[in-house]
């Protein structure tokens, strides 16, 4: 991971913690499906994406949800979107 993606990850984890305050984000595995690791239902997941959208200003169409499985996916997605808005 580059410094850039490290920063994105850090912010993503802060936003995730707001949705799931009981989770120790330090222990999360980057390549494992996030929703099962953190027990996010569809409402939590939508709220997580809304907070990413608000914070980074990226548009996340529903058709992209399938690409966002692990934390790595989320960070890479944000990185790509922010590079080419």
């Amino acid at each position: 991971m580059t410094t850039d993606t490290q920063t994105l990850l850090k912010t993503t984890l802060i936003l995730l913690q707001a949705i799931a305050p009981e989770v120790d984000v330090e222990t999360l595995k980057l390549a494992t499906p996030l929703r099962r690791q953190v027990d996010l239902d569809s409402m939590d997941w939508l709220n997580f994406l809304i907070s990413l959208h608000k914070h980074f200003g990226v548009n996340i169409p529903e058709s992209d949800y399938a690409d966002l499985v692990s934390l790595n996916d989320v960070v890479n997605y944000l990185h790509a979107k922010l590079a080419r808005p």
């Binding site: 239902d41 569809s42 939508l46 994406l49 959208h53 996340i60």
Partner: protein, 338 residues
């Protein structure tokens, strides 16, 4: 003079500890106003008052543990001369203190007590139906594509609305069984099973689901989930559900058969929506499918009526546009009411 009693806080709750009073003697209160906060093993509940009046005396002290039905306060009638006066907010409105219970054992015990009672008293019957969801999911994606992320509608909301509409055909699944008889409810207040992050589960009511549009229901559901988890539900939400819906499909299980919350008489369970091979007019086609189950009370209905309900639910979900039209009708009715 009338008495204000601690209302029922749901089937699994028979006592609570008073955390705060939001009123004091002499205050004018109106129906629906949150007058106290009571801690249960699950969460802090905002207790609403069910009639207008003037507070005469508060009979319970903060910190006291009281059973449901305890007289908490006495109320005087609003005299006719006073009735014209505008309602002034109480000067004594301390912020509700939230005490999230640490005791997981208590939570398990209360859930176990309610579910044991249900299984002891209610002769359950179960059935399920696999529902094709291609039309509904296509329609919903089309709708969501045009919406901002903050306005997008979850499939869970579509399912809640479809259940409320399907109940019109089988009213014997919607209401309460009390004192050896069934009372059907015209309104559909749907108890939504919500897993709490500290363990346990609550099923607070989403009110009048049949009469609201999807656009209205989505933020209300979002708010209900948020408040269930932060421990600020209202007493009416804990006690007036007329049916419960559980959506364990979220966790990718294929189907779920639930235990009815007394005094309700039915529970609808949804599994996950997953692509499956189905045979349509002799041809195999892959499309999203959903397993919907019904647990219902044999004292009130039988399997034939239960099957009619599931068939109606399936039909409603095949025609999502009609659901949308239903939206327009609901919106028109709301306008008329205003």
């Amino acid at each position: 003079m009338s008495e204000f009693k601690l209302p029922s806080l749901g089937a699994d709750m028979d006592e609570g500890t008073l955390l705060t009073w939001n009123i004091k003697p002499g205050d004018r209160v109106s129906r629906g106003q949150v007058v106290a906060v009571v801690d249960t093993t699950k969460a802090a509940i905002d207790v609403e008052i069910w009639r207008d009046g003037i507070v005469n005396e508060l009979l319970v002290k903060v910190g006291e543990k009281i059973p449901v039905g305890t007289v908490m306060a006495t109320l005087r009638e609003v005299a006719e001369t006073e009735a014209a006066k505008p309602v002034l907010p109480s000067t004594l409105t301390p912020p509700p203190v939230l005490v999230m219970p640490e005791h997981q054992k208590d939570i398990r015990r209360t859930i176990a007590a309610a579910m044991s009672r249900s299984k002891r008293e209610i002769p359950h019957y179960y059935m399920s139906e696999t529902i094709p969801m291609a039309n509904a999911m296509d329609w919903l994606s089309g709708k969501n594509e045009k919406l901002l992320i903050s306005e997008r509608i979850l499939s869970a909301v579509l399912l809640l609305k479809a259940v409320a509409l399907a109940l019109k055909r089988t009213p014997e699944l919607n209401g309460f069984y009390r004192d050896d008889q069934f009372q059907a409810s015209t309104a559909v207040h749907t108890g939504v099973a919500i897993s709490l992050r500290n363990g346990g589960l609550a099923a607070p009511a989403l009110h009048d689901v049949g009469d609201k549009s999807l656009a209205q229901l989505m933020p209300e559901l979002s708010d209900l989930v948020k408040r269930a988890r932060s421990g600020s539900l209202r007493s009416s939400e804990m006690s007036d559900s007329t049916i419960t819906v559980t959506n364990l499909g979220e966790q990718s299980v294929a189907s779920v058969f639930g235990v009815i919350y007394p005094p309700q008489v039915a529970l609808v369970g949804f599994g996950s929506i997953t692509p499956q091979a189905t045979v349509i007019q002799g041809k195999v086609r892959v499309q999203p499918m959903l397993c919907a189950s019904l647990a219902a009370d044999h004292r009130v209905s039988d399997g034939h009526r239960g099957a009619l309900f599931l068939a109606e639910l399936r039909d409603i979900l095949q025609d999502p546009k009609a659901l949308a039209n239903e939206d327009a009708t609901a919106a028109n009715q709301n306008r008329k009411c205003l």
